[in-house]
């Protein structure tokens, strides 16, 4: 390629990279009113709470971050609630626990004493197990449960999850599963169908096998799987539904979780769709399913205030300014990027620009992938990005070194590049293909953060392969066209041959 052509192509490529980088990373004012700002794509990507989140719009909606709630068993109140009530009044009913962080009902929790009774402890342990089962089944990154002050539970869900607030509410419902049927839309006037009431009352699990989330053609629904006995009861209860519309209520601990109108007799399992998303269908199904498998009848938990957590600002503290994980990552990335650029420019001269440009193309493309897939920005996706970046730079370096060897033995630069790439192609290909297989399997089998890591690594490694084998080679070809002496351009030297005479 001639020098002018090279210069034009290189300018165009640089412009494309610059535009991509601006779109992905740089916020700027939009319009002349001084109110509107262009939000770069990196800010559109979902983030876990460790990597910070913020509110957009006036009222609703958060990008990134997480929601948290504290669950309180019956008879346990927060210190704030205790103080908000008249302290003199409260002292008669409550005892301080965990250095006054929470207050326990003297009668209900402590049985008249000052320490919680064994019965309360057992019930709380069962409630905690039930919560753990429900939250772990969500398989979402950023989900956490912490026991706070011994007898309350702090739950955190990512704000990127649909219906995360509904999850807190539904997951606080505990106790027996009941199915009610009536002709009014008010559950209070409906009569219980399952479990059968009377002398030989059996638990609901004798009538309902379980509940699960299904998805078909983009529609999410909740499947309620009944036993034959359950179907018999349901069928006889809904026998008149064809004549007058009836209403079916599925309750957990007396709280309605499913409410549907019935216009014909039910003979089969229920497949309930409607306004469910995958996440909300999961939440309803897991609430019912775990309540069915609970051995003891558990009291419901009450919820404290809902909070939005912008980020866990842990790590570097500079004066009164504390950096969150994302800012720390930006600093680390900046240091490593400069180190990489300096290394390539020293070792390969101006050829280093080919690597820098291919990396600068890789960078916004990864951001676009994270946003488009979407991949939540968290520890897993950052680690995958770091590994993919190293892989790209190493692959480029391996190709440069192979060409250096060829040039040293006397080949022309064009032939050296061709032979160098020919020799290293299968090395680079093998490494990338094995990593893609590993990453894909990890994505398919693992859950939460590691699954996210697998997904991000799959895309990262695939993009690294393309950038290394195609983009970098093309950029090498283009940048080299600018120089009259390609060997010097790449810092390549011929091997010195000693004369015998």
């Amino acid at each position: 390629m001639g020098r002018i052509k090279s210069a034009i192509v290189l300018t165009l490529i640089t412009l494309i990279i610059a535009v991509l980088c601006v779109v992905c990373f740089v916020p700027f004012p939009w319009g002349s009113d001084g109110i509107h700002y262009f939000n770069p794509i990196i800010n559109w990507a979902d983030r876990t709470s460790d990597f910070g989140g913020y509110q957009y719009g006036e009222e609703a909606g958060y990008l990134g971050g997480s929601y948290s709630v504290v669950f309180y068993p019956e008879g346990v109140v927060s210190a704030k609630e205790y103080r908000d009530n008249s302290e003199t009044e409260s002292e008669k009913e409550y005892v301080a626990y965990s250095n006054g962080a929470i207050y326990l009902d003297k009668e209900e929790v402590c049985g008249g004493g000052t320490e919680p009774t064994e019965e309360f402890k057992t019930a709380f342990a069962a409630q905690l197990d039930c919560l753990k089962e429900r939250f772990s089944r969500l398989h979402a990154e950023g989900v956490s449960l912490e026991v706070r002050d011994g007898y309350t539970v702090r739950a955190t869900l990512p704000s990127s999850m649909d219906a995360s607030v509904a999850a807190f509410l539904y997951f606080s419902y505990m106790g027996d599963v009941t199915v009610l049927y009536g002709t009014s839309s008010d559950a209070a006037s409906a009569s219980q169908v399952i479990p059968e009431t009377g002398k030989d009352a059996k638990p609901a699990s004798e009538y309902i096998k379980g509940a699960s989330m299904r998805s078909n053609m983009g529609t999410a629904f909740v499947e309620i799987d009944f036993t034959d006995a359950g179907l018999d009861l349901l069928s006889s209860a809904t026998s008149g539904a064809a004549d007058s519309t009836g209403y079916l209520f599925l309750q957990v601990g007396g709280e309605t979780v499913v409410n549907l109108s019935v216009s014909e007799q039910i003979h089969d399992n229920l497949y309930i769709s409607g306004s469910y998303t995958n996440d909300s269908a999961k939440i309803v199904a897991y609430t019912i399913d775990t309540a069915l498998s609970s051995e003891a009848e558990l009291p419901a938990l009450s919820m404290g205030e809902l909070h939005h957590v912008d980020g866990n600002f842990e790590g570097l503290t500079l004066g009164s300014f504390t950096l969150n994980a994302l800012n720390i990552f930006y600093i680390a990335f900046g240091i490593l990027f400069v180190a990489m650029a300096v290394f390539f420019l020293i070792r390969y001269g101006r050829l280093g620009f080919a690597n820098i440009l291919s990396y600068l193309l890789f960078l916004p493309l990864m951001v676009l992938i994270y946003w488009a897939v979407p991949i939540t920005v968290g520890a897993g996706s950052i680690a995958a990005f770091a590994i993919s970046s190293v892989l790209l730079c190493v692959s480029n370096a391996v190709a440069y070194e192979a060409a250096r060897k060829e040039y040293a033995v006397g080949k022309t630069i064009t032939s050296s590049v061709k032979t160098g790439y020919k020799k290293t192609f299968w090395h680079i290909f093998d490494l990338h293909i094995v990593l893609v297989i590993v990453a894909l399997l990890v994505y398919l089998i693992a859950i939460t953060e590691l699954s996210l890591f697998g997904l991000a690594l799959t895309f990262g490694v695939a993009l690294s392969g393309i950038c290394s084998l195609l983009v970098n080679r093309f950029l090498w070809f283009v940048t080299m066209g600018l120089s009259k002496n390609p060997g010097k351009f790449c810092h390549y030297k011929r091997e010195e041959v000693e004369d015998d005479d």
């Binding site: 460790d50 509110q55 609703a60 927060s78 704030k80 965990s98 250095n99 006054g100 962080a101 772990s136 449960l145 912490e146 026991v147 002050d149 011994g150 607030v165 509410l169 205030e305 809902l306 909070h307 939005h308 957590v309 912008d310 980020g311 866990n312 600002f313 842990e314 790590g315 504390t322 994980a325 720390i328 990552f329 600093i331 680390a332 240091i335 490593l336 520890a379 950052i382 680690a383 770091a386 590994i387 970046s389 190293v390 892989l391 730079c393 190493v394 070194e401 020799k423 090395h427 093998d430 490494l431 094995v434 990593l435 297989i437 590993v438 399997l441 990890v442 089998i445 693992a446 939460t448």
Partner: protein
């Protein structure tokens, strides 16, 4: 003649080294288990309402908090402000929660006293506690583990390692795949043993996850060796060498190539680990251990294990070459 590295000769040494470390690790693990990090953390939470926000007293409140913590000799590790939301509309209510996080080593009584002092200081300052609604409380939180994530992670990484070894088998030969499998098992056991031996603090999910990571690193490092050997063994100069000499020569020449990949990975994890938050650091820095183990096995143990396999497979190959069939032999003549 230059002295050649003969990996097969060192096989008993590497087996002994691995065995000693693994046995010692098993003994220590059965006595003390792993050095699990306490899942506990402590916080002081200050809840305040919209009045404090509107009057722009938040900075003063934070200043007061930090002054009291400093007086009590407490260093916080994290600070954040959570906004309270309305359950129905997910919109902000105007109330906030200022949360300071402390390490689990902080004594309860010191933290509770600091919280009490802070409450008194705020109550006494009419300029700060504008309508008496600022409430301070100290809490202890213990994280719960979701075990499904850990065992599925280990299975995922294990399956991925085996599939990658099958790829190695098809691409580079079954001697390499069997050796890779042995190295992989060694790396998993050795990593777990070293975690038990050197008492590196880990989260409850740590050992299983790091074992899986060791398996993957092991396969990648061995893959790099296989590539180099495949390239070298095509060289006619290697044809006259014994399996032992050929493997030794190839491994000796692959240091530079492998370092190109391993050193940047180690540097990236070390830099990220050094600046990361305390929670992430406990994942990023211990990753260097499985990386070191896989370097040991791919450069020292695995080449030594490969030598007998390669000799055997080479013999099988040459014996297969000897018999070409009657018709083919006649045609060749």
């Amino acid at each position: 003649m230059t002295k050649r590295f003969l990996p097969g000769k060192w096989l008993p040494v590497w087996i002994a080294l691995s065995a000693v470390l693994i046995v010692a690790g098993v003994v220590l693990f059965s006595l003390f288990g792993f050095n699990y990090v306490s899942p506990e953390k402590k916080t002081v939470e200050i809840s305040y309402d919209a009045v404090v926000f509107i009057e722009e007293k938040e900075d003063k409140l934070a200043e007061e908090c930090e002054k009291v913590f400093a007086q009590s000799g407490l260093d916080y590790t994290g600070k954040r402000t959570d906004s309270e939301l309305d359950m129905s509309y997910i919109s902000e209510t105007g109330n906030y929660l200022l949360v300071y996080t402390f390490s689990s080593d902080v004594k309860d009584d010191v933290l509770v006293k600091a919280a009490d002092d802070l409450q008194k200081a705020i109550d006494a300052d009419a300029n700060l506690n504008l309508n008496g609604t600022i409430s301070v409380s100290a809490h202890t939180l213990a994280g719960e583990q979701f075990h499904e994530g850990s065992w599925r992670a280990a299975i995922a990484l294990g399956v991925a390692a085996i599939v990658a070894l099958v790829y190695v088998g098809f691409r580079f030969g079954w001697a390499d795949a069997i050796t890779g499998l042995i190295a992989c098992v060694n790396d998993v056991l050795l990593t777990l043993s070293l975690f038990a031996l050197v008492r590196i603090p880990v989260y409850a999910y740590g050992p299983v996850l790091f074992a899986g990571i060791a398996a993957v690193f092991s396969v990648i490092c061995w893959l790099v060796q296989c590539m180099k050997m495949r390239e070298n063994f095509k060289d006619p100069a290697f044809a006259s060498l014994t399996a032992q000499e050929a493997v030794g020569l190839s491994v000796a020449g692959s240091w530079k190539f492998a370092c190109c990949f391993l050193i940047p990975v180690a540097v990236v994890f070390a830099v990220l680990g050094a600046v990361a938050s305390s929670g992430l650091r406990l994942f990023l820095l211990p990753v260097l251990l499985p990386l070191a183990v896989s370097v040991y096995s791919s450069f020292l143990l695995a080449p030594a294990v490969l030598v007998p396999f390669k000799s055997k497979f080479d013999k099988m190959k040459s014996s297969r070459k000897k018999y070409v069939g009657k018709k083919k032999a006649e045609a060749q003549e």
